[in-house]
């Protein structure tokens, strides 16, 4: 069994949702990003997404854009992604890498996969790569036994959801709302509906992202999803340091164990 399958099986056995936290590698510096990710793990994240800072992050709102910009201006180099993943592995945690496609394309898909495996990473989340264009990545990920986390959106047709989950492994990333990343007041009932539609096509765990920032929201999402994905809120917390990141992770980890949202989110 691949690692992510085992991880989600264990979370399921505990009758709760998983907590997945995102932070960009190299933000604000490579060394500090390792500390921040460690704090995320210490606070109770089951899995971390190590983001690759990219010059043209079209799926990201102002918070993550600014963080990527800071990382790049502080001299972040792509190969340092693997150092950061290694630090997560060394800390006893689990990491996947979230990246726009061009850095991987340019590095070489096979080389990227090899270096990711060597650092203990489990797979890639690819926000601007759809299975239709992923031929090479499908082959390479198969060869290296890496997980491929593709995204589904509220606008995805049934046919596209079916095709996307078929190409996915590890888990499926459901973007809760139409829009870019950023913490939001409410996650919206659309998320539950998207999870329901996706569930009809797959046994894979479904993670919901875009907008979650509090323990209460995490509990709400945990009531219908297998994993709660938190990004911008962690980036905002990171500005205050590792303590704030750890505190947020603890709050969210409490949330995914509460499932108090059952009644408030109608599917």
């Amino acid at each position: 069994m691949k690692t992510l399958d085992a991880l989600f099986a264990q979370v399921r056995a505990e009758d709760r949702a998983a907590l997945i936290g995102y932070l960009p590698a190299g933000y604000p510096t490579v060394a500090e990003s390792k500390e921040l990710l460690a704090a995320m793990l210490d606070g109770g994240c089951d899995l971390v997404e190590v983001g690759v800072p990219y010059s043209d992050p079209v799926m990201d709102g102002p918070t993550i854009q600014a963080a990527a910009d800071t990382a790049l201006r502080n001299g972040f180099r792509l190969r340092e992604t693997f150092d950061v993943v290694q630090s997560v592995t060394d800390h006893g945690g689990h990491a996947v890498v979230m990246t726009y496609w061009n850095p991987v394309h340019h590095y070489g898909v096979d080389a990227f996969a090899r270096d990711l495996i060597a650092a203990g990473g489990h797979g890639l989340i690819t926000p601007d790569l759809i299975p239709d264009e992923a031929e090479e990545w499908l082959d390479v990920s198969e060869k290296h036994a890496l997980d491929r986390i593709f995204l589904v959106a509220p606008s995805s047709s049934e046919e596209r959801i079916a095709r996307t989950v078929k190409a996915s492994s590890g888990f499926v990333y459901a973007t809760a709302v139409m829009g870019v990343t950023g913490a939001r007041e409410s996650v919206g009932a659309g998320a539950a509906e998207l999870v329901r539609r996706t569930r009809a096509h797959t046994e894979l765990p479904i993670g919901v992202g875009l907008g979650v920032r509090s323990g209460e929201q995490a509990a709400e999402v945990a009531s219908f999803a297998d994993a709660v994905i938190v990004g911008s809120a962690f980036v905002t917390a990171a500005k205050e340091g590792a303590g704030a990141v750890r505190a947020l992770a603890e709050e969210l980890a409490g949330g995914v164990r509460r499932k108090s949202g059952h009644a408030t989110v109608a599917p």
Partner: protein, 405 residues
């Protein structure tokens, strides 16, 4: 005719020109791209749509545009004859109106009420604001803050036409970042909004569709040059930003193997300076804004900011069909520096009384070189993609007509 005749130069079903093109886009936008592709496919087979588009081009945009010989300018080109395809005489002053009218009609067919667009020089923004005023659509234009300053006159025009102009303050604050911001808006408002992309780049179906709305340039040019010169040209020259005016005129001649298709990219301060936008000449294959094509990128696949004196050409990507035409050898791509373009800009103004857009001046500078290579019997058509009124500020500073502030 029930099936539109397949153009042998069309991409495959999924928008690939050889290894280029495709859809490297968030899943959230794939539904909208599918809807657009389906609507465009239906529209181009619908005589009512084709007729309405043709009528607007003729009665609103002033097509066909003239083909004007430029003999006094050509004296500086080794004696070759040079003709100018006068896209500058179109309503709103550039070729951009062709594509905009087509996509605005599609927006209405799709029942969408809001249009967003990116703009560099402001020409595409002005054309979009114009079509939206004509058709009663709400219009928001994203424009890099650097460009809102370089092209202040066009910002005022867009405002007058009722469009909202949003200065983009991220990244290089030019065209590339305006596209990023427009994509973020689109993914948030895709139900109600059409993204009216201004060049033959981006995800499928944009490169093919934008090209097809501009092929009228090449079709007219071919007819006109045969009439005026009695033969096909030796070379067709066009400037290349994202590639729309070039692909439009190239397609009139793409099946004439003896006609050289030459695209001129912005060489900025010179290739050696590293400050340029010569994507096809100097870039490598990569993925940006939804398609695989040539790209200016660093060792880590981060986009390198392009530079050009011309706000409409400083884009680090290029449409995927140009990448394919380069690799297959059907078209050639060269670069022209700021200074060479500005010299041609002034030369055309003083020899022919035509002030070109600085973008188009890159093609003119290229034609001067091509003419000297071709010699006495050479025959060249230049796509004069736009007029230069918008560039007076830049020109006045460049030539020292006013104090550089």
């Amino acid at each position: 005719m029930t099936e539109r005749q397949r153009n042998p130069h069309d991409p495959d079903e999924r928008g690939h020109f050889g290894p280029y093109g495709g859809r490297f886009m968030p899943e959230a936008l794939i539904g909208a791209l599918d809807e657009l592709a389906a609507e465009y496919d239906k529209a181009q087979r619908d005589p009512a749509f084709v007729e309405e588009f043709t009528r607007l081009l003729r009665d609103y945009a002033n097509r066909p545009s003239l083909l004007t010989e430029a003999p006094r300018f050509a004296e500086h080109a080794g004696g070759a004859r040079i003709f100018l395809k006068r896209e500058d005489l179109n309503h709103t002053g550039s070729h951009k109106i062709n594509n905009v009218l087509g996509q605005a009609l599609l927006t209405k067919r799709m029942g969408k009420k809001r249009v967003i667009a990116e703009t560099g020089a402001g020409q595409h923004g002005v054309a979009t604001a114009t079509a939206c005023a004509l058709m009663g659509l709400e219009c928001t234009v994203y424009m890099g803050q650097v460009d809102t300053e370089r092209q202040a006159l066009n910002v005022a025009r867009m405002n007058l036409l009722g469009a909202e102009v949003i200065p983009v303050k991220t990244g290089s604050r030019t065209l590339k970042d305006a596209i990023n911001e427009a994509l973020r808006d689109w993914v948030t408002n895709v139900d109600t909004t059409h993204y009216l992309l201004g060049t033959a780049a981006g995800a499928h179906p944009f490169p093919m569709m934008v090209r097809n709305f501009h092929t009228v340039i090449g079709e007219e040019t071919r007819r006109q040059i045969l009439e005026k010169a009695g033969r096909l040209p030796d070379a067709v020259a066009a400037c290349v930003g994202g590639g729309s005016n070039a692909i439009g005129i190239f397609h009139g001649f793409i099946d004439d193997p003896d006609v050289r298709l030459v695209g001129f990219e912005p060489g900025g301060h010179g290739i050696a300076s590293g400050e340029h936008g010569a994507t096809l000449s100097e870039g490598t294959p990569g993925v940006l804004h939804g398609a695989r094509s040539y790209l200016l990128q660093d060792d880590d696949g981060q986009t390198i900011e392009a530079y050009s004196i011309s706000a409409g050409l400083d884009y680090p990507g290029v449409g995927p069909e140009h990448a394919w035409l380069k690799d297959t050898g059907r078209a050639e791509y060269r670069s022209v520096t700021d200074d060479e373009a500005m010299d041609a800009f002034q030369l055309l103004s003083r020899t022919e009384g035509i002030i070109p857009a600085i973008e188009s001046a890159h093609a003119l500078a290229g034609a001067l070189v091509l003419g000297r290579e071709l010699g006495q019997d050479g025959l060249i058509v230049v796509n004069l993609s736009g007029r230069g009124d918008k560039d007076m500020d830049t020109a006045a500073k460049h030539f020292g007509y006013v104090e550089d502030s």
